[in-house]
């Protein structure tokens, strides 16, 4: 016990903060089922922090990144968030990666007076709005809307949904059911699968017997890749995925069965296919070039979310300095910021600031993302 106390004292004494720096916490799921989201996020955040420090910091303050791996686990996220807020005493936190983790720390952000810019998709993170909580990815509501609109344009009316039993899947399912009502799409079958499930044939064959025009799968990690495989075996066509799989890692996992899949995604993964007149192209190409040049792997939408989160932090901190209330006001007042996910226009009541324009439908062809026709 004495040793423990000694260790505690030593750690405490190391915690003296230096002037002229701002500590930024980061919680990403670098490993675990959501690692292909969290890993690029972490890399992006590190890259941007190094860049900004090389350029002299924000308003002269060097940025110190304190990062923990949540493994996509809610309980860990809570512990690390508390550690960031009370032990590391960070100014703000970017992340967590997944919806479940973000919801788990939503209340803590206010309790510990630590602003949070989440990189997770669900709209429930910012509705009801919390003064301290923001998020950068496009909302699942917008993703659902984009899919349904695309379906209607192809004359499809009946959809079946198969959603993951995790935070992302559960809120995504709500968004799909709501969105279907608004868009006049009939949901003929509603199935679920577990994050770690290995075989979804039973659910998919049930779906098949309901003969939908399209099947929408909502999940992250390896499980959707298995859904794609099983669906292909069963001969199910017109499979849609969520924006949760907009990564080359998913394409790798699913292999040939990814061919022909369609999903809503931000413009980033098809940046080089965009018309030159596209207002987002310069931002996207710049980030793509930096990231791919540095890490030698293809960009994914998720790294982009961290890019946006860090950029929002930077923009607001430039205006506010070390005053938290001013920082929050500046963050909520962000206007016309062109990030990788789209154009952010935050208000007091909208802490995401994106619209469904931020999404386009993409298709996986020959192991590459293409703009869907």
């Amino acid at each position: 016990m004495v040793r423990i106390l000694a260790v505690m004292v030593i750690i405490l004494s190391c915690l003296t903060a230096f002037a002229g720096e701002v500590k930024l916490g980061a919680l990403f799921s670098e490993t675990g089922p959501a690692s292909y989201l969290g890993h690029p996020e972490k890399l992006t955040a590190e890259m941007l922090v190094a860049e900004i420090n090389a350029a002299g910091g924000i308003n002269g303050d060097k940025v110190v990144l304190v990062s923990y791996d949540t493994q996509g686990d809610e309980q860990r996220t809570i512990n690390y968030f508390k550690r960031l807020a009370t032990k590391d005493k960070v100014f703000a936190v970017i992340g967590p990666t997944t919806t479940g983790s973000s919801l788990a720390v939503k209340d803590l952000a206010e309790k510990f007076n630590t602003p949070l810019i989440s990189c997770a998709a669900s709209a429930t993170i910012v509705t009801p709005v919390n003064k301290y909580v923001f998020k950068t990815p496009q909302s699942d509501i917008h993703a659902a809307e984009t899919i349904f609109k695309y379906m209607k344009s192809k004359g499809m009316k009946k959809a079946a949904i198969i959603t993951a039993q995790n935070g992302f899947g559960v809120t995504g399912r709500d968004a799909l059911i709501e969105g279907a009502k608004v868009q006049g799409i009939e949901i003929v079958s509603d199935e679920k699968f577990g994050d770690k499930d290995k075989d979804m044939t039973s659910q998919l064959s049930k779906i098949k017997s309901a003969s939908p025009d399209a099947v929408i799968c909502w999940g992250v990690g390896p499980a959707p890749a298995i859904v794609a495989k099983n669906a292909k075996d069963l001969g199910i066509n017109n499979l849609f995925m969520s924006h949760g799989v907009a990564s080359m890692k998913f394409v790798e996992l699913a292999g040939t069965s990814a061919d022909g899949l369609k999903l809503p995604a931000g413009r980033l993964i098809v940046a080089d296919r965009l018309a030159d007149s596209d207002p987002f192209k310069p931002v996207l190409m710049q980030y793509k070039k930096d990231y791919e040049g540095k890490f030698n792997m293809p960009v994914s939408a998720f790294g982009g979310h961290a890019y946006d989160a860090f950029s929002l932090f930077k923009l607001a901190y430039e205006k506010s300095g070390a005053d938290k209330d001013k920082f929050l006001a500046a963050l909520a007042g962000t206007k016309n910021f062109k990030g990788t996910a789209g154009e952010f226009n935050m208000t007091e009541t909208d802490h995401n600031g994106l619209t469904s324009d931020a999404f386009i439908m993409v298709e996986i062809r020959d192991g590459k993302f293409e703009i869907a026709q």
Binding site: T31, G32, P33, S35, Y36, Q71, Q165, E191, K192, F193, G194, K196, D197, K198, D199, M200, T201, S202, Q203, S205, K206, G221, P222, A225, I226, K229, K232, D233, L234, G235, E252, L253, G255, T256, S257
Partner: protein, 287 residues
């Protein structure tokens, strides 16, 4: 009908895992909580040999199985052999500890991410009455059946197999007859690991491989072994297939999340109602 085909695929794997439990149980009266980890190990080894080193499958498969066999032998030497007081609690705990270690070593070697093995052959779906089955699944079922049959011959006919059965019947008597009981125990761990790894290799292209896969598949394999009657060879096979079918059928009639609970409900029900399993012989209580 579709559930029948997917159930058979999963069931063949459970059957192989259940056989692994049986081999060890029959020679030592032990239940090896780390049995599932060998399934994961098989998947990881085939990933390394086949996907990373690009060996032809026909070489990579036996190589992966043999490697797992060696790990199984070492496993017995290190963990089971060194336990001083061989009480039930200690043996259970040590296999649990070993499973944690195996899982963690796998995580350090292969990382936390899911890896893909690729396909052993071009995937095709075959239309059958009432559903489809992929040629991958057919391979799992066919090779699984072959392995079970070879194992059956091994246990029935070979010298080692007879020695193993003799040890289960009466360890002391077997010793008197000149059977090296320690050797038999070590062999049984090796063979069990090899069978588990073979299951892992077979299933890997369908389910991918993650370092923590072993736990669930191990538990389900145990459920299958209990269902068929612990210690009974064909009971394990029948139990495995039955459990696969039950799971896959359950997913069609109830929310699929409850699917995983089937195996555990089976464990509890069988233990309460008929501890000898559906096809097992009644066993006497050892005092």
């Amino acid at each position: 009908m579709q559930f029948l085909y997917s159930g058979l695929t999963g069931g063949s794997i459970y059957a192989l895992v259940a056989l692994g439990y049986n081999i060890i149980y029959n020679t030592t009266g032990l239940i090896n909580f780390a049995q599932g980890e060998f399934v994961m190990l098989g998947g990881m080894l085939i990933y390394t040999l086949f996907a990373v080193f690009g060996m032809p499958f026909i070489i990579a498969f036996p190589l992966a199985v043999v490697t797992a066999l060696i790990v199984g032998l070492l496993f017995e030497r290190v963990f089971i052999n060194l336990v001083r007081v061989k009480s039930d609690i200690n043996l259970i705990t040590v296999t649990i500890a070993a499973s944690i270690l195996l899982r963690d070593f796998a995580m350090h070697i292969w990382g936390r991410d899911t890896v893909t093995v690729g396909e052993f052959m071009p995937v095709k779906s075959i239309e059958l009455p009432g559903g489809v089955i992929s040629n991958q699944s057919i391979m799992v079922i066919a090779v699984g059946a072959c392995i079970a049959f070879i194992l059956h011959l091994f246990l029935k006919r070979s010298k080692y197999g007879r020695a193993m059965r003799a040890c289960f019947d009466d360890m002391t008597a077997a010793g008197i007859c000149g059977i090296n009981a320690v050797m038999v125990r070590v062999m049984s761990f090796g063979v069990a690991a090899a069978v588990g790894a073979a299951a892992g290799v077979l299933i890997s292209p369908i389910t991918f491989v993650t370092y923590d896969d072993g736990l669930m598949i191990g538990l389900k394999g145990f459920a299958a072994a209990i269902l068929g009657g612990l210690g009974s060879f064909w009971g394990a096979v029948a139990g495995g297939i039955l459990l696969g079918l039950l799971e896959s059928f359950a997913a069609t009639i109830m929310p699929s999340g409850y699917k995983d609970a089937i195996a555990f409900v089976v464990i509890l029900l069988i233990l309460f109602v008929k501890p000898a399993g559906l096809f097992g012989k009644r066993m006497a209580k050892r005092v």
